[in-house]
């Protein structure tokens, strides 16, 4: 099921969408939809990573927010060089 959503955008931005749609052989709506989906996925990941780095959430909760598997999230952390959120203080409590 789809729902209609009205957005007010700057003329320049609309022109940019049209230009890119032509290059990609897509209609304007399809291109905007594609960008929205990709942008939403990326934003979910950004929020999850930010919260993880700030030690607000666990790695598993981050994967739930990002809506990706924990395997995928660990791979992303590795690619981006994001260190484990465990601290020296955490380890000292355990040993």
């Amino acid at each position: 099921m789809t729902k209609q959503m009205n957005l007010r955008l700057d003329e320049e931005l609309i022109e940019e969408f049209e230009e890119l749609a032509k290059t990609e052989n897509l209609d304007r709506s399809s291109l905007i939809k594609k960008i929205l989906i990709e942008g939403l996925q990326q934003e979910r990941l950004n929020i999850a990573i930010k919260k993880y780095v700030l030690q607000e959430i666990s790695i598993e909760r981050a994967s739930e927010i990002a809506k990706i598997s924990i395997h995928e999230l660990i791979a992303k952390f590795s690619q981006l060089g994001i260190p484990s959120n465990l601290t020296l203080d955490d380890y000292q409590k355990l040993i």
């Binding site: 030690q55 607000e56 959430i57 666990s58 790695i59 598993e60 909760r61 994967s63 739930e64 598997s69 924990i70 395997h71 995928e72 660990i74 791979a75 952390f77 590795s78 060089g81 994001i82 260190p83 484990s84 959120n85 465990l86 601290t87 020296l88 955490d90 380890y91 000292q92 409590k93 355990l94 040993i95």
Partner: protein, 167 residues
């Protein structure tokens, strides 16, 4: 025999460094149903997921049927981490996690969790692996987890103390 309940991230890290097969020498390896679902997702894409699935099929990793019915999961940890902690409390098992939030939730319930690094230290203490192997496994783990230098130093020192029989 001790029972170790692993969460998804710790088991993935230990799989990545190829030490998963030695975990049974410390105690039985158990996971919750929700952790199993996480570990075996995206089998086509991740070789670690396939290796873990093989271990699950051979019952080297046991899956608990425990369920936390109707309890509200704290917003800062995931379902698998929460169920793992609850299961540890229920059956008096050892919780293994590599996450700050999960670790602190577990500490607040009175559990004394372990991390992948501490599992390596335990393997060294029990002479399941030797000092040279520890160094290799730990270096790989430190790279995968992008461990901070002070943490690397801390564990290298601990391992040296064990090697020199100071612990």
């Amino acid at each position: 025999m001790d029972i170790f309940i692993y969460d998804a991230c710790s088991l993935i890290y230990l799989t990545k460094i190829n030490i998963k097969e030695k975990l049974v020498f410390l105690g039985s390896v158990k996971i919750c149903k929700s952790v199993k679902n996480e570990l075996t997702s995206e089998l086509e894409k991740f070789s670690d997921a396939r290796r873990l699935k093989e271990n699950l099929d051979k019952n080297i990793i046991e899956v608990s049927r425990y369920k936390t019915k109707g309890r509200r999961i704290p917003g800062n940890i995931g379902k698998g981490e929460y169920e793992s902690i609850a299961l540890c409390l229920e059956i008096d098992a050892l919780f293994v996690t590599d996450d700050h939030q999960a670790l602190n939730v577990a500490l607040n319930t009175g559990l004394k969790p372990k991390t992948s690094e501490i599992i390596l230290i335990d393997l060294l203490k029990k002479k399941i692996i030797n000092y040279e192997s520890f160094k290799v496994y730990f270096l790989e783990l430190a790279q995968i987890k992008s461990l901070k230098p002070e943490i690397v130093l801390f564990f290298n020192e601990k391992a040296r103390e064990i090697e020199n029989n100071e612990i």
